[in-house]
């Protein structure tokens, strides 16, 4: 059937569907129940490279798009979400646990009971027990196993001692029996249940993971599932000994990830996932143009990819195609990161000048213009502050096109403004290394940044890397500037921005997410081979490394009550402090999550927790 005929047929087929066309305001689902049928294969394209931060190993994987795969398809956790859009999608519900526990012992103890009937996929084929959660937590605590958000669990008693190799187990985790696990904390932690929804906390079989100790990322190709799907070919993997284990065929780490149904999954134990399709196939494609051609042809059903502007225009403006155009709140900030230990960004004057000069509207234009998101004015998206910081725009410029006069004014006083004219004229301002990725949008972003920075005397030497995150996350590479980063919430609490991104104590050699190195100490710099200036911040000169550790510690134990939003207000103040007294970033966009689906998709749903498609809730024609 030719393409135009297929399109007409799809429109006719969809004619009976009561679909509400929503743009930007978010839609929980788009279909009618009559369209949802089990079966078929969901084909997902992935642009350029998977870009996983730890090869999809749940212990270390921190890419937001990877959370969507793990949480929906492979890894169940004690508590989880309903895999839907909006506020409902951020509400915690029991997953493997029988119920959401109420903390006892003054808020310091959480007791979970495990549902019966939860089993590991082949080739492990046994029931999940409380000890399997201990395995997962110990892997997360072990620095050699690549955990990238282990800092969330330092509140568990004995965590640090175990991580330092001073204890054989984590004393704050106990397993009275196979179906009960108890966590004892060092202090009340209002968001602890959210922390237990993260994929790294999902149960792992020690008989398999022990073979990958000290090899971050390697376990991923033999990941043993507890959810509705498993890696194709995992059932044929020989786990009789560590030397016998070979990677499953269905995932090669580079080009494809093929998932099939997990025969040991019991849907009666899972109230949050529907798992309509029989298979989910992720394939990497170098070209976003090719991806959307394939979606239009029905060879792919949706994609994790930048969207070519021509495609965006077509789907956003053609009435017959709008049903395939889905937008939801992304809870994500895209930003330019500046390493505050590396010249010239070790001077706060320069960092402020960059905030004034960058044409944020032009950066957004490379992504497709106002359709794809809002201009970001501070660290955390307004959605996570209930829009209370909506009017806070410390570096607002006319049309968001940048302001040269204000940038020069900010630069004055910098040690790099050797001419005293408000430009960065010292030698350190020339040929500054910028890391860029190879997505379709990156060349346009690089061109804009270079053009803007040149106005204040900064020139860049650009290095393009396919899948740039591992490079940016390696501290010893001393990358001064990167245009690639974006950060989505880990869960619906501002701490998930501030803790991983600005706590100096969370900085790790590889897989580091505090790219700016805020709060890094001189001792850490020596250990991590940081070459720049790590001296403490001097507010008189604007040089040195500022820290917000004490402010983070102040906010973390706070809880919002009906009487006041003490926790939220504390983090709002921290956001403001970072934007004016630390200035680690140039935040430029709060993106919507835009997805285009093929006519094969009969029901699309968005997962607000991972801000990705809710793969476990999508159906296709079978």
């Amino acid at each position: 059937m030719s393409r135009p005929v297929r399109r007409v047929a799809a429109v006719l087929l969809s004619a009976g569907v009561a679909a509400a066309v929503l743009v930007a305001s978010g839609s929980a689902a788009r279909s009618s129940s009559a369209q949802i049928k089990a079966g078929g294969t969901l084909n997902v394209g992935w642009e350029s490279s998977f870009g996983f931060t730890d090869n999809l190993d749940p212990t270390g994987e921190y890419l937001g798009d990877a959370f969507g795969i793990l949480d929906n398809l492979l890894v169940r956790t004690l508590v989880g979400y309903n895999h839907t859009a909006g506020a409902a999608g951020n509400q915690l519900v029991p997953d493997i646990a029988t119920a959401l526990p109420k903390p006892t012992n003054g808020g310091k103890t959480y007791t979970f009971h495990i549902k019966p009937g939860i089993k590991f996929s082949p080739p492990v084929n046994r029931a999940v027990t409380s000890h399997d959660f201990v395995t997962a937590m110990e892997r997360l605590a072990n620095p050699k196993d690549g955990g990238q958000y282990a800092f969330y669990y330092k509140v568990i008693k004995g965590w640090d001692a175990y991580a330092a190799g001073k204890a054989k187990s984590i004393s704050g985790i106990s397993t009275p029996n196979d179906s009960t696990i108890v966590f004892n904390l060092t202090q009340p932690t209002g968001d602890f249940l959210y922390r237990m929804s993260m994929p790294a906390t999902g149960p792992q079989p020690a008989e398999v993971t022990k073979c990958f100790e000290g090899q971050p990322g390697k376990y991923a190709q033999d990941l043993i599932s507890t959810a509705g799907y498993m890696i194709e070919g995992i059932d044929k993997v020989d786990i009789s000994s560590c030397s016998a284990i070979k990677p499953a065929d269905g995932y090669d780490g580079q080009t494809h990830l093929f998932l099939v149904r997990n025969p040991n999954y019991d849907p009666k134990t899972d109230g949050t996932r529907k798992n309509y399709v029989d298979q989910v196939r992720f394939t990497v494609d170098a070209s976003d143009v090719d991806i959307y051609n394939k979606i239009e042809a029905g060879q792919l059903d949706l994609a994790t990819s930048s969207i070519p502007p021509s495609v965006l225009q077509k789907y956003a403006t053609t009435p017959s195609l709008k049903r395939y155009f889905h937008q939801n709140s992304g809870d994500r900030t895209w930003y330019l990161t500046m390493n505050i230990t590396q010249p010239p960004f070790d001077d706060i004057h320069v960092r402020k000048a960059m905030n004034w000069i960058i044409d944020k509207a032009a950066l957004r234009q490379t992504w497709g213009g106002p359709t794809v998101g809002q201009i970001a004015n501070h660290i955390v998206p307004d959605t996570l502050f209930n829009f209370k910081l909506q009017s806070y725009k410390p570096y607002k410029t006319p049309g968001d096109h940048g302001d040269l006069a204000k940038a020069k004014a900010a630069m004055k006083g910098s040690k790099y403004d050797t001419k005293g004219d408000g430009t960065c004229s010292a030698p350190q301002c020339k040929n500054v290394l910028m890391i860029s990725d190879t997505r379709g949008v990156d060349p346009g972003m690089v061109a804009t940044i270079q053009q803007d920075a040149k106005k204040i005397g900064i020139t860049f030497k650009v290095r393009q890397i396919n899948g740039a995150y591992p490079t940016i996350q390696t501290v010893a590479k001393n990358i001064p500037f990167a245009e690639r980063p974006g950060w989505g919430k880990d869960y619906a609490d501002p701490v998930t921005f501030f803790e991983p991104l600005f706590d100096g104590r969370t900085i790790i050699p590889t897989g580091n997410t505090n790219y700016s190195l805020v709060g890094i100490t001189q001792s850490q710099c020596r250990q991590l081979h940081v070459t720049g200036d790590c001296s403490p911040y001097n507010p008189k000169t604007g040089l040195g490394v500022p820290s917000v550790n004490s402010m983070l510690d102040k906010c973390e134990p706070l809880v919002n009550t009906e009487a006041n939003d003490a926790r939220t207000v504390c983090y709002e103040n921290l956001d403001k402090y970072l934007m004016t007294n630390v200035v680690p970033w140039v935040p430029w966009m709060w993106s919507y999550v835009t997805r285009i689906t093929s006519s094969n998709v009969t029901h699309y749903q968005f997962d607000q927790f991972s801000t990705t498609p809710a793969y476990s809730m999508i159906s296709v024609k079978s």
């Binding site: 070209s287 976003d288 143009v289 070519p308 502007p309 021509s310 965006l312 225009q313 956003a316 032009a362 234009q365 490379t366 992504w367 497709g368 213009g369 106002p370 359709t371 290394l433 860029s436 190879t438 379709g440 990156d442 060349p443 346009g444 690089v446 061109a447 804009t448 270079q450 053009q451 040149k454 030497k461 650009v462 290095r463 393009q464 890397i465 396919n466 490079t471 590479k477």
Partner: protein, 319 residues
């Protein structure tokens, strides 16, 4: 060496007239209109490479790296086409495509000529040594060349470029910097075996000639024989193959830039412009047309010139 042309004397008897090799070459070359046109085109391209970019920027008032998103992109970031101010339209980032195309000539020709020159130099030396000394030396050098020729060039080029690009100091202890130097190095690595093989076969033939034997019997050293007897006879073929290698090098650079692995994104190159064009192929025809046209014309011109030179230098040609 001279050639003899038969002429009629006033009395009607045939008289032989000598012509120098260079005169013969020039006469033959002049008769090849396509080669003449190609030479003229290349001359024009060289001029464009030298000053075309700055001249274009001055004429249009649009610097090479200046983006004009407000006037040359629509609300979805799609570039707009040719008009009175932007003769070739805008590229994907809103920059003047005419100016970028002119600057691209500099990159493409620089890479093509320099990479070819270095590859020919290396291939010439290795080929002469292998062909003259034969034996174990020839075997070793020829096998090295064969291995290089057997390698998947594009895949390994991608690996080298990616590895060197991830470090701000480049690779080989900072000797090779990402960007144009790295692209040139990659092209040279995979081009020299082709030249070496050709030079080797010519050298094997020349070393058996009487004039070489005579030189040897007079006590000339190997070095003198190679550089004074053999090398002059290789100049002609080398010039021809160099002109044929240049367009290949230009296309190789274009391929790497198309894959996003060539010159940095801010440096204009025809391949990079074509890479940019693929995101807008269905809405911005000018992005492919103009850089593509220049690439085709350049490649065709060098190929025609190479053919013309080969015909003009071929002493066995019956004219």
């Amino acid at each position: 060496m001279t050639a003899v042309t038969d002429l009629l004397s006033p009395g009607g008897a045939l008289v032989a007239e000598s012509k120098s090799a260079s005169r013969l070459f020039w006469e033959r070359f002049r008769e090849d209109k396509a080669a003449l046109f190609a030479a003229g085109t290349i001359g024009l391209l060289v001029l464009i490479a030298i000053g075309g970019g700055p001249l274009a920027a001055w004429i249009t008032g649009h610097p090479n790296d200046e983006a004009y998103q407000a006037i040359m992109e629509n609300q979805f970031g799609l570039p707009k086409g040719p008009n009175a101010q932007f003769w070739f339209g805008a590229d994907g980032e809103g920059r003047d495509l005419f100016v970028r195309t002119m600057y691209g000539a500099r990159t493409s020709l620089l890479v093509g000529v320099v990479a070819s020159g270095i590859a020919v130099l290396i291939g010439l030396v290795i080929g002469m040594i292998a062909g003259y000394f034969r034996g174990a030396v020839d075997t070793l050098l020829s096998r090295v060349g064969d291995v290089m020729l057997a390698m998947p060039q594009l895949l390994i080029s991608i690996g080298i470029v990616a590895a060197c690009s991830s470090n701000k100091n480049g690779c080989v202890a900072g000797l090779i910097q990402p960007g144009i130097p790295l692209v040139i190095m990659v092209i040279v690595i995979f081009s020299w075996p082709y030249i070496a093989r050709l030079v080797r076969s010519f050298t094997l033939s020349l070393r058996e000639k009487d004039f070489v034997e005579a030189s040897r019997s007079l006590g000339a050293s190997n070095t003198r024989i190679i550089f004074r007897e053999i090398l002059p006879n290789l100049i002609g073929p080398i010039i021809v193959y160099t002109t044929l290698l240049i367009p290949q090098s230009i296309l190789f650079e274009a391929a790497l830039s198309y894959l996003g692995l060539g010159v940095p994104p801010d440096t204009a190159s025809w391949g990079g412009l074509l890479n940019d064009a693929q995101r807008f192929y269905d809405t911005a025809w000018w992005l492919m047309l103009f850089p593509g046209l220049f690439l085709v014309i350049t490649t065709l011109a060098f190929n025609l010139l190479g053919d013309g030179l080969r015909d003009a230098l071929d002493v066995r040609a019956d004219r």
